[in-house]
């Protein structure tokens, strides 16, 4: 991490959980969505 740079910040883990949800909701099979919700 550079001290002369600004970073987007969030509550730790929020970024990963949000994108994981996007990832795990991206499954499509023959036109049907197949969402996985791993309880987080």
């Amino acid at each position: 991490m550079s001290r002369s740079t600004s970073y987007w910040i969030w509550y730790p883990g929020d970024f990963e959980l949000y994108h994981a949800m996007q990832q795990n909701f991206s499954r499509v099979e023959r036109g049907y969505g197949w969402p996985a919700f791993w309880k987080s």
Partner: protein
């Protein structure tokens, strides 16, 4: 959510907070809106940013000469004590949105175009994760695109996984896995017949032109979207097949490494704990990217309180703990260990609620006890799970010690490990068979490779037992073979640990080479050489159910780097590594591998070995 930081300013300064969330900036007692330049100082200045968001997670960006958002800020969710804010090196610009992952794009044109029945089949050089873009010179018809990881899948309109109607304005289809794309005109559902001009309605009206004409009228390109994680390893050797296996494994692995390590690029595209565990092993020798490890492990674990197993699979929870150790050994990432250790503790406590009367882990009723797609005797406590669980205790003790946890607590974990190991040997080791059995509860004394492989990898077996395992199980054709590259990895790892390098190299040639012989351009989720070619894409009772680009099949990279080049990372922070090459199986070999921040090169010409560090 609140983000806080106190500054001791020597002089007046200014800053601005950006966020798409609802909220405000509080400087001492005064509120400001987002997007407004705020002047403050000199002296002690207390800043709080309150942000909430329904559509996505709240995030802020603070820009200023002195006042800037980074990991010196604390985040607070009004429930738990404040903790250091989360960030990612990829998000440093005010114009970015942390809720949007930014892919890089690369355009690929088809390398083959072929008329097939009433449509046109486009083939790409290799498999991609791409947005297909179809340009049709005619605007008076609707096309449909059928994608396939194989030629057979793309041509099977009924069973292929992905088929799309291109967007009417852009001609684009949703992002998906594709090697072949079959494009045909979408027709109304009524009786039709083929004529020399094309497809005709039963009344003789021409419905669509012949595919030969279609071929001239449409153009297809694939916009491959990927996460740019540089590959730091280079490998080439005199063995052409091994060279090809490395290269295909590398391509497979890169396709499955995006925001997270996913299982494969078709079908699930999910983050699975056991799959990710193996990806960590490959990553350290190929890309050595610590951040994808962290993203994946944080995503898998989720928040406390833990109420279900990771991916609902008992073994996948256990691999999560083991993953932290693999990650730390590769990158010396103590900050991450400190961040997640409390979650390791709550995970193991959750597991400890699920023990039988002997202290063996059985999960809860309905939990998925996976281990592998294989015929395991799962009655009662399964042996392989106990070995993973024992290794978790050893990991808790080891990593607890690294971050200065109380010696009594670490000692307690170690004691549990020793007890677990003793019990496994007492209940599962079958002296008559010279092997571990899957279950003692069933009385069937069923022997599979799985637990016996773990016994070698996790040192549950002593030296004498390990020798017996190799003889009675791993070298015994009567014990069913592993059929997934997933567990093949563990088996090859165990054989390498036992010194059977020549055999493993031959088995890599046979098994992974076998997939290449069957036309693989990426390595598969499952490969059983005894399955006839016409059924080779079947899995889960689905004609094209098998994923043909699966991260867990990229393990030859790890095996070659770890045992043949012989690189073992000892202390990544201080750049210490061990090189113990076994290149006698190659006429020549040139390789560069990452070790922490260093790049290690090794060169073998069949007589002389040279090696060094690149800057």
């Amino acid at each position: 959510m609140a983000f806080r930081r106190v500054y001791d300013l020597e002089e007046e300064t200014s800053f601005c907070v950006y966020s798409s969330a609802i909220g405000h900036v509080l400087v001492e007692d005064r509120k400001y809106p987002f997007g407004q330049t705020i002047h403050c100082g000199p002296g002690k200045v207390r800043i709080s940013v309150h942000a909430g968001c329904i559509e996505t997670f709240p995030s802020i960006y603070v820009k200023g000469d002195i006042i800037r958002s980074d990991n010196t800020w604390m985040a607070e969710d009004y429930t738990n004590p404040p903790i250091i804010a989360g960030f990612n090196e990829r998000y440093t610009e005010e114009s970015q949105k942390p809720s949007v992952w930014e892919y890089r794009e690369e355009v690929h044109l088809p390398v083959s175009v072929e008329v097939c029945e009433d449509g046109v089949l486009f083939g790409f050089e290799t498999e991609l994760t791409a947005v297909l873009e179809i340009h049709d010179s005619r605007k008076d018809r609707r096309l449909r695109v059928y994608c396939g990881e194989s030629r057979e899948e793309a041509l099977d309109r009924e069973h292929c996984y992905y088929s799309w109607a291109p967007d009417e304005q852009t001609g684009r289809c949703p992002r998906c896995a594709v090697r072949y794309a079959f494009v045909a005109q979408e027709l109304p559902a009524f009786k039709e017949e083929k004529t020399t001009q094309g497809l005709c309605h039963e009344n003789g009206e021409l419905l669509c032109a012949g595919a030969g004409q279609l071929k001239e009228e449409i153009k297809v390109r694939a916009i491959h979207q990927y996460t740019d994680i540089p590959v730091r390893a280079r490998f080439s050797c005199s063995d052409v097949l091994i060279d090809r296996i490395w290269s295909v494994a590398e391509h497979t692995f890169r396709l499955c490494s995006g925001i997270f390590f996913i299982d494969g690029i078709k079908r699930d595209k999910w983050i699975w704990g056991g799959d990710a565990y193996q990806s960590l092993f490959v990553n350290q020798y190929l890309m050595a990217d610590a951040d994808i490890d962290r993203r994946t492990l944080l995503a898998l674990r989720g928040n406390d309180t833990m109420t279900t197993h990771i991916n609902t699979i008992l073994d996948y929870s256990l691999y999560w703990i083991l993953s932290i150790k693999v990650h730390h050994e590769a990158y010396g990432d103590l900050a991450f260990v400190e961040q997640v250790y409390p979650k390791m503790v709550t995970l193991i406590e959750f597991c400890e609620e699920q023990l039988d009367e002997h202290g063996f882990i059985i999960g809860r009723s309905g939990d998925w006890i996976f281990i592998d797609w294989a015929d395991l005797d799962k009655e009662g406590a399964l042996c392989a799970e106990q070995m993973l669980f024992a290794e978790c205790y050893r990991t808790m003790a080891l990593l607890g010690g690294r971050i200065g946890k109380d010696a009594f607590i670490c000692g307690n974990y170690l004691q549990k490990y020793e007890t677990m190991k003793e019990n496994i040997n007492a209940f599962y080791w079958n002296a008559g068979k010279g092997a571990y059995i899957d279950s003692f509860a069933s009385g069937r004394e069923h022997v599979t490779r799985h637990a016996n492989i773990f016994a070698i990898l996790f040192d549950i077996a002593d030296g004498r037992q390990k020798v017996q395992i190799v003889q009675n199980v791993l070298h015994n054709d009567a014990v069913p073979q592993i059929t997934t590259p997933y567990f093949k990895f563990y088996e090859m790892d165990a054989l390498c640990k036992m010194g059977y390098l020549e055999e493993v190299l031959e088995r890599i040639r046979e098994y992974w080479g076998g997939m290449l012989e069957r036309g693989a351009v990426t390595f598969w989720e499952e490969y059983d050489p005894s399955v006839p070619q016409e059924e080779q894409y079947d899995m889960y009772g689905d004609k094209f159910g098998k994923s043909l680009c699966h991260a867990w099949s990229a393990s030859p990279i790890y095996l070659l780097a770890r045992y043949y080049v012989g690189l073992r990372i000892m202390d990544p922070v201080n750049g210490k590594y061990e090189l113990c090459p076994h290149l006698e199986y190659f006429d020549s070999l040139e390789c560069v591998l990452p070790a922490g921040d260093k790049q290690i090169w090794i060169s073998w010409n069949g007589k002389e070995l040279r090696f060094g560090e690149k800057q």
